[in-house]
Symmetry: C2
């Protein structure tokens, strides 16, 4: 796939008026922060721009929500430009895809190594730690003035997708961009409190509950924990509040691959995967029709929890067997 | 207090030969990373330099340890220069103070707002997020070549003292320095795995155990948890492995001041304090003859745990009463 340049994409944006932004479903900090930052910028340029959502925004990201963030139908039948943000494929905006393709021109801005091409204009940079970094570059190219709110949204995108600068996708450039966001009026303390320090007590209880039943396998190289519907009910917590548990699991010494199984329904298991050093969890996710990065990926298994657990353990064992031959 | 310039201090270092570095007791990432980085640099300049320790280095920092890090007696009777690193007062290197003051010249490099002057040459910058930032500046001033190992040590100093760039002491400059460390050969993945992903399972069990007995007071604005000697024994964990629990406590929504009481001995309670937004925990720590920053401080109470708990709750209530009148 040949990327377009950000200049080409910028020219498309500047010549359009009605613009719809499509962050991926099960929205995360990078998708939402990137979409909100770009939407602010387009509105500052006088564009009729909206962020279109298909599911609930998690509480820790709700501070990003603005009037231009819409659930349901867009305010116009067809956009001049539809922009998919942080979406590795069409399934990542499944419910909104008709609306997306009604746009006269489509654009994809993404940093997933597994991105499948579906748009007219594409800028996919798997070296970017977050799609937020690409949005930052795009705003520079279209000579957009950075407001404090744009800086907050881009910081939210970058800090969440780099595991707060700890994941190995973090680069010199990540820190250079963040340094510049401070200059542009970033309210660092506010964003960090909103994202990291507004945790419900119930979530901490859930986390303690989940982490006490730790399954370690592959001679200590892999760890797995499960969240059942019952655990969620007992702790008065929601599925989205399992975010972060997998990082705690991965932080255990010797663990190379960490797995979190989330029982969304009886036969619908969401799987989060993380690798520490040499493992490739994108490969594991792909084998279950999922996606993501080498060190952070996910998939869905349509089976009961116990079966999903067996399947994923086999896949992890297979992946780690490869790793040990390196 | 009038600071010396880093140039003046650099000139002292360049004209010396035998140099001893004194990071504070209960050594942390900033003290150790800063001392190791400076010691590498001085040795690269041909100096006979050592880091002198008075207690055990925590496991997550042991990757920093080099031959020049000594416990016990230094290899020479008196140094040309003794340098206190990240020490807010003489009590922070109590057991080594005779050795420190035997040095012909003494230097203090620190970033604590509560620093008491005790050295001949001083550079105290309370705006620096970590003493590691000051060491970075000093190495630039003496025109020292940054090796990858110096970069790793400075990154360790900065990431630990900024709560991995989340604490409000983090600045644009923090990110600019880190960006430069990438250029100088920082092994980011290695350092992050060493510091953050080598956690013993027992520590995670301890954390779950401690956090389930959460005491919330001041109408949800304050939270307190305690670690007893029994909890440490039951979980096969050490006192140093409580690091991080207070950050989880502070992350709960609405909590402004977080307190962790650590029962070191029956009548010896170590207190860690954190403030989220407007609280000043340095004031609380000072009232118990402790020290630290506005948002992160600590003290010791020589009383049984139950009494220490009452005392600290009163002090927190007093501090938060101030805050609410702002």
């Amino acid at each position: 796939m040949q990327n377009n340049t950000l200049k080409e994409i910028g020219e498309q944006l500047l010549s359009a008026n009605r613009i719809l932004l499509f962050p991926h479903m099960q929205i995360d900090g990078d998708a939402y922060g990137s979409a909100v930052a770009l939407c602010y910028a387009l509105r500052n340029l006088g564009k009729d721009a909206y962020v279109l959502l298909e599911d609930k925004v998690p509480a820790f990201l709700s501070f990003l929500t603005q009037d231009f963030c819409l659930e349901g139908e867009p305010p116009f039948e067809s956009a001049d430009i539809s922009i998919a943000i942080d979406c590795s494929d069409v399934e990542r905006f499944e419910k909104r895809k008709d609306c997306f393709f009604r746009g006269k021109t489509s654009v994809c801005l993404d940093h997933h190594m597994t991105t499948k091409v579906f748009a007219d204009y594409n800028y996919i940079d798997a070296k970017a730690a977050a799609t937020g970094e690409i949005i930052y570059d795009l705003l520079k190219v279209i000579d957009c003035e950075f407001s404090p709110l744009i800086s907050d949204a881009l910081y939210a995108a970058i800090t969440t997708d780099t595991g707060n600068f700890r994941y190995s996708n973090t680069t010199k450039r990540t820190h250079m961009i963040v340094a510049d966001l401070y200059d542009k009026g970033l309210n660092h303390a506010k964003v960090c409190v909103e994202i990291y320090e507004n945790v419900r007590k119930e979530r901490i209880a859930l986390s303690a509950n989940v982490l006490k039943d730790l399954h370690i396998f592959c001679e200590g190289k892999a760890g797995l924990v499960s969240v059942t519907q019952k655990m969620l009910r007992d702790n008065h917590a929601s599925l989205e509040e399992t975010e972060g548990i997998i990082d705690t699991l991965k932080s255990i010494e010797g663990i190379e691959i960490a797995v979190l199984l989330k029982e969304k329904e009886d036969d619908l298991i969401k799987v989060s995967l993380r690798a520490k050093s040499y493992g490739n969890v994108a490969e594991i996710a792909k084998s279950f029709h999922g996606g993501g990065h080498i060190k952070a990926a996910g998939c869905t298994i349509h089976s009961p929890l116990a079966d999903a657990k067996k399947m994923i353990i086999q896949a992890v064992e297979k992946e780690l067997a490869k790793g040990s031959s390196l």
